[in-house]
């Protein structure tokens, strides 16, 4: 940007003539960063503002009857239904029971996925056998449409909680394996050489060096697993009945109570968010030395 355009845009200073510009080469040039109006809005205002905008748009679309109110309830209908369900949950009604069942399925599935994923991840990351023989099967397994196995688990384990736990485990454990193995492989070569020079055995190298190095990766895998285990439990409930929130969603949708469906989905996502938050909290406590990537929105 030339001195001329800079002073014009800032609007300050005396009017610059061509002659003046030529003779005024010594004058300091003021460069200004131009930020758009939207970029200067504080973050929380921007976030809340977008939400209000989205809800208003939603209300408008339904209010103008562009879409039937039966198919798409208004935000206010949904909010009312969320409050109604909250009352039911607080008093220990049927929504509370469903929420509790699904929460159990998600937590059990997540814990099983974490344990199995971590174990297989260490096997794959640490042994040549795991790398050469086990990994190809895991990659092939990951390519399967896992949701398609839900009826199989129902056939094997029945309509109770266990078939959903296994479904959650089935969907959630793979990212933990991949991230654990990647984390172990990320260990700095010089530091491994240093450990060898200190006479460290395999278990010391694993426990004092490789696993701590892998922890940030493992937590990334666990966060993915937290979200996936909710997906697994709900898919299990859609296809295998039971008494969880997924079953309530299915029934409400059949009755075309979309407002209730939305309210139930709201509570379902709370399960996932809560689990995600717990994992994130643990990560900050345990991996205290690791500064998360500022571009990583999920850890913000």
């Amino acid at each position: 940007m030339s001195a001329r355009s800079a002073s014009r845009e800032t609007g300050g200073g005396p009017p610059v003539t061509d002659a003046g510009e030529r003779s005024g080469l010594d004058e300091p040039v003021v460069y200004e960063e131009h930020e758009g109006l939207l970029d200067r809005v504080p973050r929380w205002v921007a976030i809340i503002g977008l939400a209000i905008l989205g809800l208003a748009l939603w209300q408008l679309i339904v209010g103008l009857e562009l879409i039937s109110r039966i198919l798409l309830p208004t935000p206010l209908d949904t909010a009312r239904e969320i409050v109604d369900s909250a009352g039911n949950i607080v008093t220990g009604g049927h929504v509370f029971e469903a929420l509790w069942i699904t929460t159990q399925e998600v937590i059990l599935g997540f814990v099983a996925a974490a344990v199995l994923g971590f174990g297989l991840g260490v096997l794959v990351g640490e042994t040549r056998f795991g790398q050469r023989a086990v990994m190809p099967y895991l990659v092939g397994f990951n390519a399967l449409p896992k949701v398609a196995f839900a009826p199989v688990f129902v056939a094997w384990l029945g309509f109770g909680v266990s078939s959903k736990v296994v479904m959650a485990l089935f969907i959630a454990f793979f990212p933990v394996i991949v991230d654990t193995a990647a984390g172990l492989a990320a260990t700095d070569r010089d530091t491994i050489t240093l450990f060898r020079s200190m006479g460290a055995n395999r278990w010391q190298t694993l426990g004092k060096l490789k696993l701590p190095t892998a922890l940030p990766f493992i937590f990334a895998g666990l966060k993915t697993a937290a979200v996936f285990s909710v997906v697994g439990a709900v898919v299990g409930e859609y296809l295998g009945g039971g008494k969880g929130l997924g079953e309530l969603v299915r029934l409400s949708a059949q009755q075309l109570r979309i407002d209730r469906v939305f309210a139930l989905i709201f509570y379902l996502s709370l399960i996932g968010l809560a689990l995600f938050a717990v994992v994130g909290w643990l990560e900050r406590r345990i991996v205290f030395w690791h500064r998360p990537d500022p571009t990583d929105v999920a850890s913000a």
Partner: protein, 274 residues
């Protein structure tokens, strides 16, 4: 062959120190990588005596890092042997201290815990706890008193390398093996660290072997400098550095310093033409 007529040099292996003094004795060492039949090292003979600071310099890929790794017992030689303190090196040993270009500190451990790591690995956490005072003294010696509880993320590059020096010294090694120890630091920090290393080595009468890419660094720190040629890796020249000690950085502008640097550079150029 040399433009510095009085340069204190001699062909490889002719100026041996008295045998009783020798701490590290490398005898006819060779390394062949069978996979591609590369002769990384060929007939390396060198001796380092007690309290001597030796450096090795050579073109990239001449095998100097391989030599250091064999000395440390990290990789086997194809022929010949390394004798440290009278016994052949056949694997990692507790009397060998090693340091790399990167500080390689564990970020989840404090400076003090990092310094005690070698003790903890060899003798267990209880033995490490009894040596806390020694580790604290070492940290104070390198000017890191008050940083015992700091984590590596809170240290500058130079400070991290000081912690790595303490970690190397805590086992009281017979020889220090330094693989381009300050190569990742900026020039000013590097000069300060070189002075620091010189002071530490002379205070402890340490025996050291350093791989470096920097001729001035090798001349500034060393008593003796081995110049390597590549393919196959051989010791082309042994340069005795007779600069008086203690040295500070003003010595780098002295004529004698310049002569030696110039001589080494010519030797390296000669090796590169071969």
């Amino acid at each position: 062959m040399s433009t510095a007529p009085d340069a204190p040099t001699g062909p490889a292996g002719t100026e041996r120190p008295p045998p009783g003094d020798v701490v590290l004795d490398v005898r006819n060492l060779s390394k062949v990588y069978a996979r591609n039949d590369v002769h990384a090292l060929d007939g390396i003979d060198l001796q380092i005596s007690k309290g001597q600071f030796a450096s090795i310099i050579g073109p990239s890929g001449c095998g100097k890092s391989t030599l250091l790794k064999i000395m440390a017992g990290l990789i086997p030689a194809s022929g010949g042997q390394v004798v440290l303190d009278g016994s052949p090196v056949q694997g990692p040993r507790p009397d060998i201290g090693i340091m790399f270009q990167q500080a390689t500190l564990l970020p989840w451990r404090t400076s003090l815990e990092n310094v005690l790591l070698p003790i903890e690995i060899r003798e267990g956490a209880r033995a490490a706890a009894t040596l806390r005072d020694l580790a604290n003294e070492l940290l104070a010696m390198v000017g890191l008193g008050g940083f015992e509880k700091a984590y590596p993320g809170e240290l500058s590059g130079g400070m991290a390398q000081r912690v790595a020096i303490c970690r190397m010294l805590v086992i009281e090694p017979t020889i220090l093996l330094l693989d381009e120890p300050f190569g990742a630091l900026d020039e000013l920090t590097r000069e300060r660290m070189n002075e620091e290393l010189q002071r530490i080595c002379s205070e402890r009468n340490a025996t050291a072997f350093m791989v470096t890419h920097s001729i001035p660094e090798a001349v500034f720190l060393g008593d003796v400098l081995f110049v390597m040629s590549s393919r196959p890796g051989r010791i082309a020249e042994v340069v005795q550095i007779d600069l008086p000690r203690p040295r500070d950085f003003s010595i780098t502008t002295s004529p004698r310093f310049g002569e030696i640097v110039q001589h080494v550079r010519e030797q390296l150029d000669l090796g590169a033409q071969l």
